[in-house]
C-alpha cells in the first residue's frame, strides 16, 4: 500500500501539496486533473524520484527513497529521460541487470518493439520511445506500477496490449491519464488531484 504521510511539496514559490495524508489502497487508481495540477509530481514523489519538502512517502512501510523500495516500484513518465546514446537493447539489458530480472522477449514482442531493439534511443519514434519507457517500468515486475499518460503516442494495437496488461497486472497500478479507461477485471478508483490537495491534515 502506498502512503503519503504529512507530505508537503513546492516548486519555487508554488505549493503543490501541503501536509498531504493519504493511503492509496485500491489495486487500480486513475489520477485526473488539469495540466499542471501536480499529477506527474505526485507520481515522481511516489517513485522516490523527488524528495518531498517535508513528510515521507512509504510503500509497504518502506520509505520510497530507499533502494530496496525502488526495487518494488516501476515508473514510466515522459519527464524521465532515457539515455539517448544507448540502443534500446543495451538499455533493457542494463536495466534488467540492475533489477536482476530477465529481459522478457515476449512482452517486448507484444509491444512490437523487437524490430527496433538495435536502434539508438535518440532515433526512436515517439511511440517506440514510449514503449521502451513502459518496458523499463514493467520488466522487473514491480509491486507498484506508476504510469504517467501511458497511452500517449501508442498505436491502437499497442494500446490494446497495454490495456489488457493493466487489467491483469498482479501488482498495484496508479496512473495519471486524461483518457477514460475501461478495465474489465480490476475495479478502477478515480481520484481528482484537486481532491487530494484538499486532504490536508
Amino acid at each position: 500500500m502506498l502512503t503519503f504521510a504529512h507530505v508537503s511539496h513546492s516548486f519555487a514559490q508554488q505549493h503543490l501539496f501541503a501536509d498531504l495524508n493519504m493511503q492509496f489502497s485500491a489495486p487500480r487508481i486513475q489520477l485526473y486533473g488539469a495540466n499542471g495540477s501536480g499529477k506527474t509530481t505526485l507520481l515522481l514523489l511516489a517513485a522516490g524520484l523527488l524528495t518531498p519538502s517535508s513528510g515521507q512517502v512509504l510503500f509497504e512501510q518502506q520509505n520510497v527513497l530507499q533502494p530496496t523500495a525502488k526495487q518494488q516500484i516501476g515508473i514510466s513518465a515522459s519527464k524521465i529521460q532515457l539515455p539517448e546514446f544507448m540502443s534500446a537493447q543495451a538499455l533493457l539489458n542494463f536495466h534488467c541487470h540492475q533489477h536482476q530480472c530477465p529481459v522478457d522477449a515476449v512482452l517486448i514482442d507484444q509491444l512490437a518493439l523487437t524490430p527496433f531493439l538495435h536502434t539508438k534511443i535518440a532515433d526512436l519514434s515517439l511511440g517506440n520511445y514510449k514503449k521502451l519507457s513502459l518496458l523499463t517500468a514493467l520488466l522487473h515486475q514491480p509491486r507498484l506500477l506508476l504510469l504517467d499518460e501511458p497511452f500517449n503516442g501508442l498505436d491502437e494495437a499497442s494500446r490494446q496490449v497495454l490495456l489488457q496488461l493493466l487489467d491483469e497486472y498482479p501488482g498495484q497500478v496508479i496512473l495519471a491519464s486524461h483518457e477514460p479507461l475501461a478495465l474489465q477485471h480490476a475495479p478502477l478508483q478515480q481520484i481528482a488531484i484537486e481532491q487530494l490537495k484538499g486532504m490536508a491534515a
Binding site: A47, I75, F85, A90, Q98
Partner: protein, 277 residues
Amino acid sequence: MNYWQFRLSCYRHELTQLLAQLKQLSLGLVNLFPLAMPALVMMPLVVLALLADPQTPARQYLTALWAYQLLLHSWLLLQQKAIKAQKVSDYVASLPVSKGRQRMTELGLILYAAHLLLLAPWLMLFGLLLRHASHLISQPILVSLSQFLPIFTLALLSLYYSWAAVYRRYPWLSLLLAPLLMLPFASELTVAQLVGIWLLVIAVEQLMTFHQLPQVNQPRGVVQLQLAADLTTPKAQLLRLVMLLLLLMLADNFLRYSSEVAQPYISSFFSLLMGIC
C-alpha cells in the same frame, strides 16, 4: 554493462557534446596563441613545484594557489552535469542503487574528470613524505609541519574544491572574494597565516545561508533582459569572472618580473584582454 560503466558512458556522451561546443573557442585560442598552447597545458604542473616549495614567498604562493584552485574548480564545474548524469538523473534515481554506491561512482568520475589537477598534488605530497620520512621523525614536529604545510594545503583545497564544484553552490566567498581581498596584504603575512585565513573563510562559508536573488519580472529593454538572463543562468557570468581573475593574476606576475620599459606595453595588452573578457 554494470552501474559504473553506465555512468561512465553517460559522462563520456555528455563530455563529447561539451567538447564539440568548446571546439570553436579552442580553435580561436590556438590561432591566436599557437606557441602559448603547450605552455598553457604545462602551466599547472610548473606551478606545482612553486606551491610545494616552503621557501616560496607568501604573495606568490597565494596567487599560484588561487589560480590553481580557480582552474580546477572551473574545470570540474564545466563537467558537473556530465559527472552527475543530469540529463538522465530521474532514470538514474529510479534504479535500485544505494546512495553510498552512487556517491562512490561519482567520486570515481570526479577523479576521472579532474585526473592530473586533483591527483598530482596528492602524489607529490606522498612522494615528498616518503622521501623525507627520516627527517620528519628526527626534526621537531613544528618544523616538519611548516615544511609540508604549502603542499598539504594545496592537496586539501584541491580535494575540497573538486567536491564543491560538483555538490555545492558556487564558493564565491572563499574562492573569489577572500583571496582577492587578501592579495594586497599577502606580502605582510606568512604562508601559515594565509592558509589559516583561507580555511576560516571556508568554515564561515559552510555556515552561511544564501537567499536566492529575486527574479526580474517582465523585463523592459535590453539591459533588464540581460540582467534577467544573468540571474537565471549565473554560471556563465561566474566563468567569465573566473577568466578575469586568472588574467589579473597573470598580469600581476608578468608585471612583477618585467622591466620598467616593458611594463606599460604589458599593462595595455592585459587591459585589452580583460576588455574582451
